[in-house]
Symmetry: C2
Subunit: 323 residues, 2 copies
């Protein structure tokens, strides 16, 4: 059993709200930094709708600033990577001498950012393999899966055991990855093709991708390029961990095929005109592949096209007949 812990959830979107609510239900003192949902959650609590059983938290510590949260045992940072530059000022007020920081975010180069100012010993990465979307303010729709793959910035097994115990006390399924780098690449094997194509194909769900033969082939090509880049990166860092290409492709498509018509976070951001996490996902992979000498033409094309979609949304790429 984990002792009762104080936990700050910095960036309570769908992922932060869901896992934070699981931990609160598990008896921990969870304090959420909220923006959009702040008033609704203060008034009505937090509602989790899930095929595994709905639950609600009537009383939620929802805060408007990290100072209001104060020092905690654990910080779970679930900001979007587009907000990575402001992560330090949002996280730092909650970090005391023994506080640990879990980056529950997409992309590459995330933990490095935190380790740089807070020290690597306290930094973890969490990769959530979960189908989840926000509903109206205060409501989170959990759709499928939920496993969190965790790694520690310095690969410390004792530290990993502590985080595993904490998450499991919230009934969260945990997988300890061979190492953090492996876990990041494993997650990218899904994010690059499916987030990318969901935007590049014009804002579509996963069913449109896996159900269309040409889009499905493109997803697979991108996934294989990510595996190749990830393995080259692991090798370059003397990691014994290795992504099994056929196993990854088989597993990722099998999971996505039964996901229904899931809307990726990037597709939702796209249709709502929000900033896209394209640099931390596609940009990082494309750049690392180039540095490692791994050809990634499909990923490069997705990078260019998702980036174009992002620029278009901001009015920085003029469209024909547009304003």
């Amino acid at each position: 059993m984990a002792p009762m812990a104080t936990i700050a959830v910095i960036g309570a979107g769908a992922v932060g709200s869901y896992y934070g609510a699981m931990l609160a239900r598990g008896g921990h003192d969870v304090r959420f930094l909220m923006r959009r949902d702040l008033d609704a959650v203060r008034e009505r609590g937090l509602d989790i709708r899930s095929p595994r059983g709905d639950f609600r938290l009537d009383h939620v510590t929802a805060c408007a600033s990290p100072d209001e949260i104060g020092l905690v045992d654990w910080v779970i940072c679930s900001l979007k990577t587009t907000a990575l530059e402001s992560a330090r000022e949002l996280v730092a007020p909650c970090v005391g001498p023994t506080t640990r920081v879990v980056a529950l975010m997409n992309g590459l180069g995330i933990e490095e950012h935190f380790a740089g100012w807070t020290g690597g010993w306290r930094v973890f990465g969490g990769m959530a393999f979960v189908g989840i979307n926000r509903g109206e303010p205060g409501v989170v729709h959990h759709i499928a899966y939920g496993r969190v793959s965790i790694g520690h910035f310095e690969d410390d097994p004792a530290q990993l055991e502590e985080l595993k115990t904490l998450l499991e006390s919230g009934a969260i399924e945990v997988a300890v990855a061979p190492n953090l780098r492996y876990a990041r690449w494993e997650k990218l094997c899904w994010n690059v093709p499916f987030n990318g194509l969901s935007v590049a194909a014009g804002g579509v769900g996963t069913r449109a991708i896996v159900g269309d033969p040409a889009l499905r082939r493109t997803a697979e090509a991108a996934m294989r390029e990510v595996v190749a880049t990830g393995n080259a990166d692991l090798l370059a860092h003397n990691s014994p961990a290795h992504l099994d290409e056929e196993q990854v492709v088989r597993a990722m498509f099998a999971q996505t095929d039964v996901l229904g018509d899931y809307n990726t976070s990037m597709a939702i951001d796209y249709v709502l005109g929000r900033d896209l996490e394209v640099e931390a996902i596609h940009g990082e992979v494309s750049r690392r592949a180039a540095a490692l000498g791994v050809p990634t033409p499909t990923v490069d094309a997705l990078y260019a096209l998702v980036r174009a979609a992002d620029l278009r949304n901001r009015g920085q790429l003029p469209v024909i007949g547009g304003q």
Copy 2:
């Protein structure tokens, strides 16, 4: 000098109208099969606006059906490839025993279609390297370039000389290609990247593509894949002609860099919700590459995404929040 010829222009979009008008100005009896612009052209003639000098034809033989056109010496078929299936019924009424047929169309597998029913000896391909858009009915905006690269289905030099003489009598710049297959691939080196990206990036002009580093790299990657596929295809057909990869890339980008913000025909079709020529351009290249064993990941991705845009326009690929 070419003797006065009777010429049917089947499919008088921008390209057909422009070259037909050049030939009419050159003294030939040109009869246009028109749909959208029929009434306007019958009433007010045809207006060509061009940096090389505007000109207008006050009296134009604009017809609503090929039977009205009757038998001619030359048929110039400038239909969209999406109308290829109906080309035979539109062209056949104009074809007598000595009529020649010039397919002034994009894509691959075009001349084969005509040769199949009319005999290869009379079939030519024309590849127009021209920046051109339709304006209001009866007006064509010529923007830049204009060279027509021609090939004969059976590589008959005497036949090629006749077509060259005809076109030059309309002050059209002509290049006789080493062979028809070479000419088709050369044109695809531009069409695949620029038509493809102009749609996949959301309906943008060429300036957006050449001016954005990531899109420009993707265009170049696609172009190099088309060169490789074209050369493999030429080799497989025992053609001595060969595309010089570096020369093609240099020339195509140099021409496009000074084109201004040109809207590709496919981007215009896309924003107007018309059928896209994706199968004859990207689909054919992707399939031939696969058959020849040439890897074309960038082209394959563009094929999937332009096809997705086409399906989306027809309501056959559901978008998030769409109807």
